[in-house]
């Protein structure tokens, strides 16, 4: 729907640098002086690359493998995260579907945006998302991610998640029950197996548009444009 306006030029926002990210020189224990530029040294600033689809059966096998081991990043961004504990505990037990929580983005490929995102969390969510290895998927929970939900008129929460992050599956509800979440995972599996969970590549293709949107609302952009 917003294909035509995805060519908005990248907005140059004023970059704030946190004190710990400032260039500095430190003296090593052996007395030598080391120059450090954290933004350059600690982050990879290269633009992300699209995931290349392999041919035929290989890709099919890979998709099957991906679909059957969805590792979810344990980041409760909003109210929806209250329904995660029932999922990881015996009643609903999502491990049997190959879904499990991981503590770090480096090990995860599914990001559950559990409801509304305040601007402050959006910044962290983007960083977490970008640190996840490809192929990666986003499940958005609840009304808030679709059109603002409860907080449609709040000055601190975003209304449409698809403006800032690419979403593969939406689950309606406020908040969605564990069963609905499991249905969401089932849908995501279906999409992955069919090779249709392509939103991460779309993010790469329209990176400038997403970044422009993100920078429009994140006022103190004190991180590199892309970090992974």
């Amino acid at each position: 729907m917003e294909k035509e306006n995805k060519n908005i030029p990248l907005v140059k926002t004023k970059t704030f640098i946190n004190p710990e990210n400032e260039k500095r020189s430190v003296t090593a224990p052996d007395g030598s002086i080391i120059e450090i530029d954290p933004i350059k040294d600690y982050f990879c600033q290269d633009r992300p690359k699209e995931y290349k689809v392999r041919s035929g059966a290989v890709e099919k096998f890979l998709n099957w493998a991906r679909a059957e081991s969805l590792w979810v990043l344990g980041f409760g961004t909003g109210c929806g995260s209250i329904e995660i504990p029932p999922l990881v505990t015996p009643r609903f037990d999502m491990y049997r579907y190959g879904v499990q929580m991981r503590p770090t983005p480096r090990q995860s490929n599914v990001f559950i945006i559990s409801g509304y995102l305040s601007v402050k969390t959006l910044k962290r969510a983007i960083r977490s998302y970008e640190q996840m290895p490809s192929p990666k998927y986003i499940i958005a929970l609840g009304s808030c991610t679709i059109n603002g939900g409860m907080y449609w008129d709040s000055y601190n929460t975003i209304n449409r998640l698809d403006h800032y992050m690419p979403v593969d599956v939406y689950i309606a509800g406020c908040m969605p029950r564990p069963e609905a979440l499991l249905a969401g995972f089932a849908k995501l599996k279906e999409l992955i197996k069919a090779g249709k969970a392509e939103k991460a590549n779309e993010y790469v293709r329209n990176l400038d548009w997403y970044k422009a949107n993100q920078k429009k609302i994140i006022k103190d952009w004190n991180m590199p444009d892309y970090n992974w």
């Binding site: 224990p29 409760g76 109210c79 209250i82 029932p86 977490s128 601190n156």
Partner: protein, 397 residues
């Protein structure tokens, strides 16, 4: 090499860092002695979406700052532009884990400012729902303390029973997490048929859980080793820092609104909140464990004492244009974390002028947590946070 000797060498944790003239530690990051690190918001060890900025020396925290605001939705602002009835769906989302005190407080504020009397039956149902809410939080919170010290089994048990309680909520209120059950004037329905019987079955499971978590966790030598003596809150901190509920009762100070300022039907119920004096993580967790038993008992009492039928809602003015005269009030109740209060100012229009929610997490997670974390290990931060039951959405609202 005797490992014990190495530990003893550093056992006097107050010796570093040096304390400056202003009473604050002198921390020179470039000295390589200290490291600044963040815990959260994306971290399994924080209670929800908040973060701690820790300065550590080795694995010991020398300074900590709490950062909140990741869940800020501006409720108090949003409610200023909503009619009183419209505030309810908004307001209950202020504390995700335990939404019912929010409903109750808002309804109580509205009723008090407009002078509405709530029918007997509705008061009993409100009491029941508030206790059920406490029960489901504690079923997650009590074993959750073990979870922070890598004892995840109790958490699995507790969550199952919590889910059964959520089923009862669903039956009674129509919602699993956000119940929208208490409205100004009353509640939104009587108990369904057979509710008490099913509840009793769940309570039996909870009874058994109480016993087994005692064996599993409180008698566990590892848990004891880690939790005892950790993050002691001295008695004089109670007023100075604003410590409420179970955390205050663990320090030997009686803080329970149900007992001190009885509301709803609590005056007619027989219970005695547990107090102890050790005031460490173990004691706070233990107080919650006793609270869990009290709550189970209270639910049984309520179900036995409540009438079978009755009016569930007092007549109110048309909610679409309900105006409340100018006034202000402060209403409080006891949540699972402590005194939970709401301050409301009205100006005669159909919307509140100002609503301010005051939860215990506000003081617990900010000044108190920052203070308690000093000289603790990084590995203990999660345990300390959970023992204070900090709930970020309630801090920043």
């Amino acid at each position: 090499m005797d490992i014990r000797k190495i530990f003893q060498q550093y056992s006097d944790r107050t010796s570093y860092p040096e304390i400056g003239e202003d009473g604050k530690p002198i921390i020179d990051l470039s000295s390589h002695k200290y490291l600044k690190m963040w815990q959260g918001p994306q971290h399994p060890g924080v209670t929800g979406n908040m973060s701690l900025e820790l300065t550590v020396c080795g694995d010991e925290i020398v300074e900590s700052k709490t950062h909140v605001g990741y869940l800020h939705r501006g409720f108090e602002k949003l409610m200023e532009r909503r009619k009183f009835i419209q505030c309810f769906p908004t307001c209950i989302r202020m504390c995700v884990a335990e939404p019912d005190p929010n409903e109750y407080l808002l309804a109580r504020c509205v009723e008090e400012l407009s002078g509405i009397e709530v029918p007997e039956m509705a008061q009993w149902l409100r009491t029941l729902v508030l206790e059920m809410a406490r029960l489901q939080v504690l079923l997650r919170g009590v074993p959750g303390q073990g979870g922070t010290f890598a004892l995840g089994l109790g958490y699995q048990w507790g969550n199952y029973i919590r889910d059964l309680i959520l089923d009862r909520f669903e039956e009674l209120t129509g919602g699993r997490v956000y119940h929208m059950y208490i409205l100004p004037g009353g509640v939104r329905g009587l108990l369904p048929d057979g509710f008490k019987k099913r509840m009793e079955e769940n309570l039996k499971l909870a009874d058994e859980f109480v016993k087994s978590i005692d064996d599993l966790m409180y008698s566990n030598s590892v848990f004891k080793q880690r939790a005892k003596g950790l993050a002691v809150i001295p008695k004089e901190y109670i007023d100075k820092y604003g410590v409420y509920g179970p955390s205050a009762r663990a320090a030997g100070v009686m803080r329970d609104v149900r007992k001190t300022n009885p509301y709803l039907k609590y005056a007619e119920l027989d219970f005695e909140p547990y107090t102890t004096t050790e005031s460490d993580v173990y004691a706070r967790s233990r107080v919650r464990w006793y609270d869990l038993q009290t709550t189970i008992d209270l639910i049984r009492q309520i179900m036995a004492k409540m009438p079978e039928k009755g009016e569930i809602k007092a007549p109110t003015p048309n909610v679409l244009h309900w105006k409340i005269p100018k006034g202000e009030t402060y209403v409080k109740c006891e949540s699972s974390r402590g005194e939970y209060g709401m301050y409301m100012v009205t100006d005669g229009s159909d919307m509140p002028r100002r609503v301010n929610l005051k939860g215990p997490s506000y003081t617990h997670a900010n000044m108190l947590l920052e203070k308690l974390l000093i000289n603790a290990n990084i590995a203990d931060t999660a345990g300390i946070m959970v023992s204070l039951a900090t709930c970020p959405p309630e801090i920043e609202r």
